[in-house]
Symmetry: C2
Subunit: 341 residues, 2 copies
């Protein structure tokens, strides 16, 4: 049960003042090179490591980033977290992680904890409830104290700060068009991530494609997986659906499962395009054609942005970085008719 060595102890051993030790270790130009060398040697021999609490108390920087995500069990957020952790630790920052569980209350608590804990910046993706109810009062403190914040994936116009999203509208439009070009006549939009900003954007992209194709858009939101099969089947039959654009990975897989269990062949009778490149879609049979969202890259970019903001190396006005996604073609869709010839 050793205690950590302090500057005071080193000073005593070296017979110099605490100030000298501190300056020597910080490579101050004020200090004689020989003294520096001696100090450093003794510090090393005594396993000296500065007490970060004390340093932070003076310097006001904690080299800590707060991260709030709605959940960690979906591949998208797990991957973003991985990207955040990798980049942060490579740049010498620690991360405190909070999971909001889609709830405003937990998000509020998390924000308070992060503020009180003196994080240098916050990276987050909004809870569904926050987006559904448009509650943003709990951000007041963060803005009052001028703590930089970057939002990724689930963002809001109400919050003026740096943001990272993907080109949701275009890619969803493209996904719907691809289904059409591969021969699908009745394409629906399926989502279980209702009430989120990304869901809205993807809906818009889908709807605009339907408009272009002069087809009636059909949007199916399923809020509870308990009734997933039942709800989906009803629509599949009623509208003779042969194409699905699903707003997330799990709903895409669940749709395929339901369809296969009821005699549909995929992609012949029903084609599906989902979102997120995760193990689920990769390993399902048939494997899922999906929108690669570059989750890890989003995480890494978020860290770069927030650190740029903390160190004031980027321009004052808020940045909105839009990451270009692409469609990863696998086996849940057919080739486009044009290509088949």
């Amino acid at each position: 049960m050793e205690r950590k060595t302090t500057l005071k102890e080193l000073a005593k051993i070296l017979n110099v003042s605490i100030s000298t030790v501190s300056k020597a270790l910080n490579d101050s130009s004020e200090i004689n090179p020989d003294t520096k060398a001696r100090v450093k040697e003794v510090a090393l021999a005594n396993n000296y490591v500065p007490n970060e609490l004390a340093q932070s108390l003076k310097g006001k920087k904690t080299k800590t980033l707060g991260v709030i995500i709605p959940e960690v069990l979906s591949q998208f957020f797990a991957k973003s977290l991985h990207g955040i952790e990798t980049m942060a630790s490579s740049l010498g920052y620690k991360i405190i992680i909070c999971i909001s569980n889609e709830s405003v209350q937990k998000e509020t608590e998390s924000l308070n904890i992060l503020v009180n804990t003196n994080v240098d910046g916050i990276i987050m993706s909004l809870a569904r409830e926050t987006q559904a109810t448009e509650s943003y009062d709990h951000f007041k403190k963060v803005f009052d104290y001028g703590i930089p914040i970057v939002l990724f994936d689930r963002v809001s116009d109400t919050l003026v700060c740096d943001k990272i999203t993907v080109n949701d509208r275009e890619i969803t439009h493209k996904a719907a068009m691809e289904l059409h070009n591969s021969g699908c006549k009745n394409i629906i939009y399926l989502s279980t991530i209702y009430d989120t900003s990304v869901d809205k954007q993807r809906q818009i992209g889908y709807t605009s494609a339907m408009k272009e194709l002069r087809s009636k858009p059909e949007i199916l939101h399923i809020k509870d997986y308990t009734y997933f099969e039942e709800n989906l089947l009803k629509v599949l039959k009623k509208s003779n659906v042969d194409g699905i654009v699903a707003a997330d990975e799990l709903s895409a897989i669940s749709a395929m499962k339901t369809a296969l269990n009821h005699g549909y062949r995929i992609p012949e009778d029903l084609s599906v395009i989902g979102f997120t490149n995760g193990v689920l879609g990769e390993n399902f049979i048939p494997s899922l054609t999906t929108v690669e969202q570059y989750a890890e890259e989003q995480g890494r970019t978020a860290v770069e942005l927030i650190i740029g903001r903390i160190q004031k190396t980027i321009a004052a006005e808020p940045v909105h970085r839009i990451i270009k996604t692409s469609i990863l073609h696998r086996n849940s869709t057919r080739q486009s008719l044009a290509l088949q010839k």
Copy 2:
């Protein structure tokens, strides 16, 4: 860009000393109830929150837990992390998360960061490389400083500390016996999590079952998913395999995928039992019969243990908590023959 209110400022407003303010806010019995009330009122009105850095610098407690996991993309670790976060935040602790990426070096860095950051305790699961090379020197500092540590899932006898594991041997034994009882003749053990303590335990359980059945054990370790299909098929054919006990979720699913792609029917021709109750196994067709490891519970228990250790509310000798698992029967296995009658 407000600054946070300090005790000094409150003291000035109230015309009392800093000590009085501090004691009043901490509900010290020394202070006059009326004074307390006045102080609290003003504190509230000024949005006072104590500076945790200063408090920690005095009190030596940071109310922060360090967590190191080998990866976050597997459901098992994502679920444990979720359990850890939930329990920790409900008990007023923050968590700093580090991902070792299975590497000793990253694990060492993470440990150093957590020590330097003055976490009150550490919860971790060892990196594969750490277990493979039996490198434990990087733990010296943690033990020297007496920072409590609890290991879960991937543990080591070399490290004397609290541990949480599951009954790996028994349950793997049981899994193999169940396959046998359902009619499987040639049961192999498949694993991609080679070199880990859990893999070893599960192997032992499997081997003991084979011994009991007077069958020759066959253990297949695949270290690289690139050659998964090739390696597995060779063994499936050579040994006429009709049962697989897989040490983790992904290898179980990959095995089913390979088998299905090569004409095997599951569970008729080949039965599979995996580990971890995750979305992958739940959604695959057929759904995976698997060992429920109660990952979230492991996470929650880890938090309880470490906090008990920090607050010294548990006995001095190291605790080893063994969580009883169970087999979740789904569609990748047949009923036992006994039950079929």
